[in-house]
Symmetry: C2
DNA sequence: TAGATTGTTAATCGATTAACAATC
DNA sequence: TAGATTGTTAATCGATTAACAATC
């Protein structure tokens, strides 16, 4: 072992790992692939890629690639998946069964990507009881008991803001939910023990609107 | 004028500008606001914020804030909007009228944010001719003529991949479309003259899945 | 072997922060 | 005035890249 252990993956590196994984899963034709090749496709420099992959070494493996040959595609995929924790199935609860929530159920193959939607909740009487893609929408006020009784919930996919957000946060904190993918405009900056990634469509449109006027992005 | 002009806004700064704008629009109660206050709310350091705002100076204004007082909320909002180009209306074309596309029409107030959806296209016969939120879905193969005849298209909101993607890119390049907000898995890394921001939900779930196991995000 | 490509170190580049004079 | 907070410079920190020895 050359390293003292545990150079940690930075957020930037984790982001790129998901890009590598997407690319590798789309083109598994080749047995071995070089950092150069991946980089051309994804517009990432090859030293960057080798450096990113070097973080796996001694944490996980002695050596990730083969000198003079490249990285074994399948093996690389597996290793990235293990780091990201998507080698095994994770449980997702969807909050909000509006068209955005429905889109996640119908247009995304979440289960294929190891994200299993084990519950869908909404507070609108119009939606409660309906089936969306084979899943019955439950009343938001049952979330509390559901989450307490269910198997571990890994991620909450949030497409609408719960009426009593404090209570909601208490519940999921107690039950040990550790992550929220947030599509609402609610500000979760104050959370301490729950990882939150917010996707702000308006924000992305605004950024893009700037770049369309100023070249590149 | 103190500066020689045009320190440019970096992608990181542009991203934060959208965060500032969101916060400022949500709480316009105060007349003046300090970098300290904004930073507390958004978990961004106050020197960072002042530095970000300093890029406005001499490009746009002599002075953005008021020493000892803070930034005039309304004025700051306006200035950020002007930089992002959302002080005036921009035209958006939506490609794909599936549930994700529908969500953008029904759950997002795009027009309020100065993004006006002037056309919706899909290639599925089931969807063509239908109305979604008051907009008639057109046949994807009419996109070409539509885009040539219509007023300027600023942004294409892409929720499904056009059958002939080469032709699609030719069309929009010729017509001068400069930006794509991409929700598909298609790789647009090779585009030269069109700004693309891709939102990869799977990727975000994977990142989150990592952070849920390793604390913070 | 010769050619290719890794893993890594050192150099560079860019972004963040600390600190403070200026001043409302 | 005293207190607050800006705008900016210099210092720090972190991320990217260049370069190359190791080696398959």
């Amino acid at each position: 072992m050359k390293k003292e252990f545990q150079k940690n993956f930075s957020p930037k590196v984790i982001e790129r790992l998901t890009e590598y994984l997407r690319y590798l899963e789309e083109c598994p034709e080749e047995n071995y692939i070089s950092a150069e090749k991946i980089g051309k496709e994804l517009k990432i420099s090859s030293p960057q890629i080798r450096k990113d992959f070097s973080y796996f070494i001694s944490r996980d493996v002695e050596k990730l690639g083969v000198t003079g040959k490249g990285y074994h595609t399948q093996y690389l995929c597996e290793k990235i998946k293990m780091i990201l924790g998507v080698h095994k199935t994770n449980n997702v609860v969807l909050l909000g069964a509006g068209s955005l929530g429905s889109a996640f159920l119908s247009e995304y193959h979440l289960a294929k990507k190891k994200f299993n939607v084990i519950g869908v909740f909404d507070s609108s009487p119009k939606k409660i009881g309906k089936k969306i893609n084979g899943v019955v929408v439950k009343n938001m006020n049952e979330l509390d008991s559901f989450i307490k009784l269910s198997e571990k919930v890994d991620i909450i996919l949030l497409t609408s803001i719960p009426a009593d957000i404090e209570e909601f946060l208490n519940t999921i904190t107690l039950k040990g939910v550790k992550a929220i993918l947030n599509f609402t405009t609610h500000n979760f900056n104050f959370l301490k023990d729950i990882a939150v990634i917010s996707v702000d469509i308006y924000g992305k449109l605004q950024e893009l609107n700037y770049w369309k006027n100023h070249g590149i992005a």
